[in-house]
Amino acid sequence: MSPYEWLRRVVRPEAFAAALLGDLEETRRAERGRLGAVRAELRHWRRVISVTLHFASRGRKGALGGIATDLRSSLRRWAGTPTVSITMVASLALGIGASAAVFSVVEGVLLQPLPYNDPGSLVIVRSEFPLHGSGDSRTSGPEPLDLEASDAFADVGVAWYRPGAMTDDGAEPEDVDMAFVSAGFLTTLDIEPLLGRLPTAGEDELGGPEVVVLSHSTWQRRYGGDPAIVGRTVAFDDVPRTVVGVLSPTTRMLMPADVGMPAELAAWIPWGGGYDQLDRNWRVLTTIGRLAPGQSLTQTQAALDGLATELVDRHSDAYGASGFRWRLEQLEDTIVAPVRPVLLVLFAAVWLVLVVATANVANLMLARAARDQHEASVRVALGAGHWRVLRQALADSAIITAAGAVAGVILAAVGVRALPALAPPDLPRLEAITLNWTTLGYTIGLTVGTTLFLALILAHQANKAMRGSLLRSHRTTTGGARTRQALTVAQIALSLVLLVGAALLIRSFVRLSAVDPGYEPDGVLTMKISLVDSHYPYSDRPKIAEFYRQFMQRVGEIPGVTAVGATSRLPLDGSYVVDAYSYEQTDGAIAETGNTAQYRMVTPGWFEAMAATLVQGRTFEWTDDGNSPEVVVIDDTLAARVWPEGDAVGQKIRLRSDFEGTEPPWAEVIGVVRHMRQHPRMIGAEQIYTAHQQAATRTMAISLRTEIAPAPLLGAVREVVHDLNSLQPLQRVRPLDSYLSQAVAATRFALDLLVITAVMALALAAIGTYGIVSFMVSQRVREIGVRMALGAAPADMTRATLRSGAWLIAVGIGVGLPAALAFASSLRGLLFGVSSADPVVFLAVAAGLGAIGLLACSIPARRAARLSPVEALRAD
């Protein structure tokens, strides 16, 4: 509703209101010429509000009419000192706006339920090997069948993902991500198709019909929303498939980040792999279950523990002495778990800012109350009761908080738009973040709370003034000095808390950025190739190896390329494979248990393209192929633990299993490289590299080191791929260092926001300290005059003022330190390479805050010194 509509509502009859508005418009135009546009506008709106309030309260008796009068008189008084009022409104707008924006993130990500039916009963099944100290977010092929047979769940569904190509005749091939699912996967999530149907039992069997369910966006983008799509034949990786259904545009696939489900899936294909034929150690399946009705997570977990023990007995060859078990996690928890700490810390931080802002406003209001105390005393002396005093206090604070809340909501609306840009890309459910009714409700709650708090402080002060203060001159009253000092101490303490948090995160971020990843991320372009199934069946390993050999050779010849190689998994790319290994000790004995390492397959040239450091021996060559003895390269972490004498090269290692589950032969260690960090935070994991040509897989990540800007080379690389196989798309082309910045994105996000909140708190606290010290000086003008008249030097006055300010700051820091310690320990999960009680940070922040506080005091202190004794004495 516009201000004019409000006015028309309260001013009657209509003709009177119309004439009134005409008058206001006429005056506005006349004033525009005389006073300038800005002042004319301000005065115009003041008149509109004044008329509306007058008419609204006219003729109403009792409490309500009184409140309108109170609001009007508050408004008039605040309008009289615009600088102070704007400072207060701006403080609250910052506090309320930040709170509302962060609340909307917390609400969208943490509080809103998943968009699935009964999300509480959906679980994800993870694998754990306690005796190996390892685990995996996925299960192997046969395990979901065991789960299904056990009746522990109402429904079980599995999925795995891989990039592929849409290869319809007469259309450009398009690279997309596809999900291969059991018939039960989509039904377990209770997803309804928009068109057609979901895959049915039997379609996921070996040799079942080749069908596909398309995503809504694929249907729209590639097939123009063809209403007759169901029944049409489309081609994926050169395999014709009949479309049986299309999902609705609102369907969201939300899985925990470590499962590695691509953000955008083009198609769901019932998978005919024959789960029972797969190796029990090949963990590639995302397995979800819906708890049976009436069964709790704990009960189901207990049932599965029993089942796992049975399986380990029955398949001891596969599970060995690993202590294998499944671990169930509620889907909802596990999706938001990684971001929960960051969001909760932020939530706490904005709350602290709001408290600091409110303290600031309370301080300014009390200063005003002290000034108006004489007037208040008169009013009380004339018979105003407690309720009347409280009502005026409520009106005074309500006007400011309401204006602050309106400005705050506008700020929050802007902030909520900006947050996704700052947020780490893997923040789940970014699209769920909006400024909705829940957030508005929360903001209204905050506003009402703040109003009441401020009103209580004001009313308390005013009531104290009621006790006989008419007898005293208003100059000598304390005017809530004690309360104001306490508020300032609280502001300094809370600012210290936020500053310590921000400083710890800054130090962590510097440490994190300085971590040597074990390779040189600059100047490397990465891309993925996933060979098309129909041309490169995964059993034809020589053909796959040959593709990559030719690819590397030809790309290596492109001018500007200094090195090229491929790996099964890039470091920093989220997921990684951990497996157990055995090794031959120097005395010839075999160490079987307790050894796990991250492993990846790499081609010759990869270590060179990554600029990894070779410590000992050599890296792979093209002659290390299927016809030559098995070889591995290990990292220096593994070498140092297993062969501390430095004689790792030439020793024997055996990985527990390869993809077929056959016992692989012993492999010879041919080289040792520096440890390459999987993630900047991850330390200590051992690493084993196997030769890709000796066990080739189809999906590989290429690393291309170039000496010139890589963009122009990309065309040449695409040409090579096209020459080798015209159907083959190149996927996820991006620089290697972008993975690095993504890996530290969560820390960066928390850091950015905590620094913003800390700076806000610091500014508010500095203003608050300045305000209280100025106030103390103005209270003591006469005392200062007397002392100076008696011969005190101006420098003494400065010192005395600074001393009183310094005392407040010292108490604030003293109170803040333990609180900061507690806050810092809640940050522990976000810190890196710095203790949550880092003395350097605490000392530096306390010293910095003290210095800024003293700086704020120095302004009124100098003013005190410049007072002329004559004027100071006359001041009363």
């Binding site: 004439a19 009134l20 005409g22 008058d23 418009e25 006429e26 004044s50 008329v51 007058h54 008039r76």
Partner: protein, 109 residues
Amino acid sequence: MTSEFPGEFEQMLMLVILQLGDDAYGARIRERLIEDVGREPSAGALYTTLKRLETKGYVTARAGEASAERAGRPRRYYRPTEAGTASLRRSREALLQLWAPVATTLDQS
């Protein structure tokens, strides 16, 4: 018809309306008040008082012409009624009566 005395601000407004004659409408009344009394009334007080004068029957209002500078809204011209001028007169007489004995003393102090 009421026999009570008009308030101070009511009197001021009626006097301005009388002065302005045919030109007595809101924006003009406001300007003249500032010129003559040197004080800018709050817009709310001005219009609630005008409304009250109408309700009490001290003034009558008629719609005037609309113009572009008023965003197409009509003026509302006021004219005192018999009752209005009578109450002004009553008030003046009462005040003069009260002033007469003290005027000299007050003027000298």
